[in-house]
């Protein structure tokens, strides 16, 4: 990583740490979601056998759901810079497109990490309160295991923020948030659904991201439940990051023409 990329990363981190939106996304949001869903869970009768909202499953789902909002945040940050003259000034400086991409994506990964740590801490508290089993080792492992999907979502947000303006980028992100959380199986158990619905879900990377998070929390490293989904998430993250670099470089050249 170049010194210029690091310099830009620092600027973006500072900029975000002074934006109240960061705290809503990182702290308030995951906790509120956990509490609401745990209340929902407490009103589901035990006999139904529905465990998707039980805290050990819910925590993984919320981790991925939170990342979809990191995606929105990433898009907002880029569109905000693009709408003023600040980026123009940087385009006239010796900064390269790789410096920009790294400087935008890295801070979001840090935000995503903080978010997941806070979510899991809240989950542990919820588990203690409700008397459900939730191992700290699983949570700690999962906090790192979900980083590839954080990269995937950040890159998607970065791409939207690069291609669209501050009006349309958030709209497009909300589509991904709704679609991703639904097809990802955050709110229902895809594997027990079957049929066309399950097939569609299995075609999205979001399904695998959720699977990775849930399996990691259970310290389940099975081929089908963890390794295979992880490979898909890693692959998608790599492709999205590459695409993000490409799209930004192209956009930069177009703005300079």
């Amino acid at each position: 990583m170049t010194y210029r990329a690091l310099n830009f990363t620092k600027r973006n981190l500072k900029e975000m740490s002074r934006d109240s939106l960061s705290y809503i996304f990182c702290v308030a949001f995951p906790i509120v979601m956990l509490v609401i869903m745990s209340i929902v869970n407490s009103s589901i009768p035990k006999e139904s056998g529905m465990t998707i909202f039980r805290i050990d499953n819910l925590a993984g789902g919320i981790a991925v759901f939170g990342q979809t909002f990191v995606m929105l945040f990433a898009a907002l940050n880029v569109t905000k810079d693009r709408s003023g003259s600040f980026l123009v000034r940087l385009f006239a400086s010796p900064m390269k497109s790789g410096d920009f991409t790294a400087g935008y994506i890295l801070p979001m990964l840090i935000v995503a990490f903080v978010q997941v740590v806070i979510s899991f801490a809240a989950a542990k508290v919820t588990a203690l309160v409700t008397g459900t089993e939730l191992e700290i080792a699983g949570l700690a492992f999962a906090a790192f295991a979900v980083l590839p999907s954080a990269l995937m979502f950040t890159s998607i947000g970065f791409i939207f923020g690069t291609l669209f303006n501050e009006k349309s980028a958030p709209g497009l992100c909300s589509i991904i948030i709704s679609l991703g959380s639904f097809l990802g199986g955050i709110w229902f158990d895809v594997d027990r659904t079957g049929g066309a619905m399950e097939k569609i879900c299995r075609c999205t990377p979001f399904y695998y991201a959720t699977k990775v998070a849930r399996a990691a929390i259970h310290l389940d490293l099975g081929k089908e439940t963890f390794l295979f989904p992880m490979l898909i998430v890693l692959g998608t993250a790599a492709v999205m990051t590459f695409l993000a670099c490409f799209v930004f470089g192209k956009r930069m050249r177009a703005d300079l023409s």
Binding site: R89, A92, P94
Partner: protein, 242 residues
């Protein structure tokens, strides 16, 4: 004397508009040059091409012998730009903005000293801990200019630096710009004739993307037979568009 900038047939065409038309100029080193012209004359477009922000449609431009198309990296290191709109990171403080810009251009061990110099040069000391978004328009502009010089450019482009400044702030900024003259060559655009009169060693008047007249104030006065830059400018502009 060396020329900092040499352009040859420099042209920029947008879809139906030729913004800069066959511009061939040479700007001598160590001077402050004013680019004058009515709205839409092509001043900003010229500056954008010279600072690698816009690709020329035709022609060439060199900054210290480096071609803006073939060697953008070399040009970018030599050039500082303060755009027509202020360009600052809103959530960062004045000092952090300066440190950030210094970090792009300078070696690590030179950043601190450069920041102090810039803060002093633009009297920003009182505001150094304030977030940029809380500054008034005039102070934001000063910060924006300070950010343009912190990388120690050899050529500085100032696009309407005193737009929206009150009389006192403008006078002060003139003094500050004056103070930069022995460190870098400056190309400045303005709509205030007294500003060009006060600061410029040499004046270019652009009309419809072309240079209609060029020279010192005295030379331009002699050429048009008018007194004062305002009369001179009106004369050239009216003749050029008629």
């Amino acid at each position: 004397m060396e020329n900092v900038i040499v352009t040859n047939g420099l042209t920029k065409c947008y879809k139906e508009k030729t913004a800069v038309d066959n511009l061939s100029i040479a700007i001598p080193e160590g001077k402050l040059v004013a680019l004058l012209g009515v709205n839409g004359a092509g001043k900003t477009t010229t500056i954008r091409m010279l600072s690698c922000l816009s690709k020329p449609t035709r022609g060439t431009a060199e900054v210290y012998g480096h071609d803006v198309i073939k060697e953008p990296d070399a040009v970018k290191r030599l050039v500082g730009i303060s755009t027509q709109d202020t360009a600052v990171a809103e959530n960062l403080t004045v000092r952090e903005n300066l440190e950030f810009m210094a970090g792009i251009y300078l070696e690590k061990d030179r950043i601190a000293a450069a920041v102090e110099t810039a803060i002093d040069a633009f009297s920003l000391r009182e505001y150094e801990k304030k977030p940029a978004k809380t500054l008034s328009g005039g102070w934001k502009r000063k910060l924006s200019i300070a950010m343009a010089i912190i990388g120690e450019p050899k050529v500085l482009f100032l696009d309407e630096p005193t737009l929206g400044l009150d009389v006192l702030a403008r006078r002060e900024l003139w003094r500050e710009i004056e103070g930069l003259k022995d460190r870098m060559s400056i190309i400045l655009t303005t709509h205030y004739m007294e500003e060009a009169e006060a600061l410029a060693d040499r004046i270019f008047v652009m009309i419809n993307g072309r240079v209609a007249a060029e020279g010192t104030l005295d030379e331009l006065e002699e050429m048009t037979g008018k007194k004062g830059l305002e009369e001179v400018f009106v004369d050239i502009a009216e003749r050029g568009t008629r």
